[in-house]
């Protein structure tokens, strides 16, 4: 349990640091590399949250595909003299982000979350200590084999959103091809 805490804090520091580096780094290419680091940290957080399938998807889609796309776009449009500079909205953006962060912190700390660890205190009388000490094993029992359940969910309950997502992917594929294609009449 303590080891997991240490892992979480290390990943949190790396994640926030690399996210800051994405925004602050002057070289665009290096900020893309920091973006890959933060994607990997998010995959690690998914594993900490017992979402192994999502961690694999995160590595495949984000680290594998999206970062390659971003790096390709940087290579194709790189302007050497144009550094990764701020526009004139820097101060209002900072204020807005700080307001966002403070409201998120306020809401998170002031909401009475209905979490697993407090479960059973009023459900099974007398069994609360046992539940609390067995939470780790119990979480494994509940979240041990989620991939099957996710597959069944996608094919049964969420089949309409999944079909819509596949149409969206097809449309974006065709749209990206049409956007990037060289026009014969102009060339």
């Amino acid at each position: 349990m303590i080891t997991l805490d240490v892992v979480f804090w290390i990943m949190a520091v790396i994640g926030v640091g690399s996210a800051l580096a994405v925004v602050m780094e002057r070289d665009i290419f290096r900020s893309a590399l920091f973006l890959i680091v933060s994607f990997l940290v998010v995959a690690g957080l998914f594993i900490l949250l017992n979402a192994e399938f999502l961690a694999a998807v995160q590595v495949l889609v984000y680290v594998g595909a999206i970062s390659v796309l971003v790096i390709f776009a940087i290579m194709l449009t790189r302007n050497v003299q144009e550094a990764n500079s701020f526009n004139s909205f820097q101060l209002p953006a900072l204020v807005l982000a700080a307001m966002m962060l403070s409201s998120i912190v306020f809401v998170v700390l002031n909401t009475d979350w209905h979490v697993w660890d407090q479960l059973g205190l009023h459900v099974l009388p007398g069994g609360s200590d046992e539940i609390f000490s067995n939470t780790e094993q119990g979480i494994k029992n509940v979240f041990g084999n989620t991939t099957q359940v996710i597959a069944r969910l996608l094919m049964k309950d969420f089949v309409l959103p999944m079909e819509a997502a596949s149409v969206v992917l097809l449309a974006s594929l065709i749209g990206a091809l049409a956007l990037v294609r060289e026009r014969e009449d102009e060339a």
């Binding site: 979480f8 996210a19 994405v22 925004v23 900020s31 893309a32 973006l35 933060s38 998010v42 957080l45 998914f46 949250l49 979402a51 399938f53 995160q58 889609v61 984000y62 999206i66 971003v70 940087i74 194709l76 449009t77 302007n79 144009e82 990764n84 500079s85 701020f86 526009n87 004139s88 209002p92 900072l94 807005l96 966002m100 962060l101 998120i104 912190v105 998170v108 479960l119 059973g120 459900v123 099974l124 067995n134 939470t135 119990g138 029992n141 979240f143 359940v149 996710i150 969910l153 996608l154 309950d157 969420f158 997502a165 449309a171 974006s172 749209g175 990206a176 091809l177 956007l179 990037v180």
Partner: protein, 131 residues
């Protein structure tokens, strides 16, 4: 390591992404900041799915709580309904990842078309549609 830790981390990364998306000149950096925000939202969704016990998954919430508590204590199997509602957050994260992939493909296509036509990727110089 509890729900609040994950939510605060997600909020910090989301705010950094918001700051970058609003304050950068280069379109590609704006897109990268939006990806950071997507990732922060995914962390929050998966953390909710892992920690929060849904209140309204059944007509009989106490019965569901007893069932989940038994699964926590001695590994009793959960019913399909409970398991489904517990994993809805991860399904949402999958859809967010899908939409993010489509968005980044289209967005970078637009960026490359824009660079081809205007020789710049600076959002402050892109005012073709200004009235």
């Amino acid at each position: 390591m509890n729900l609040e830790n994950f939510l605060l981390l997600s909020g910090v990364i989301f705010s950094i992404g918001l700051y970058g998306a609003l304050s950068k000149k280069n379109v590609i950096v704006v897109l990268m900041s939006i990806e950071l925000m997507f990732n922060a939202v995914n962390i929050a969704l998966v953390a909710f799915s892992r920690y929060v016990v849904p209140r309204s998954i059944a007509v009989d919430p106490i019965g569901v709580e007893v069932e989940v508590a038994k699964a926590l204590v001695n590994g009793a199997a959960l019913s399909e309904t409970v398991l489904r509602s517990l994993l809805t957050g991860q399904i949402f994260a999958i859809f967010v990842i899908t939409i993010a992939a489509a968005e980044v493909a289209l967005g970078l296509g637009i960026v490359i078309a824009m660079y081809r036509n205007r020789e710049t990727v600076d959002v402050t110089h892109t005012n073709l549609m200004r009235g």
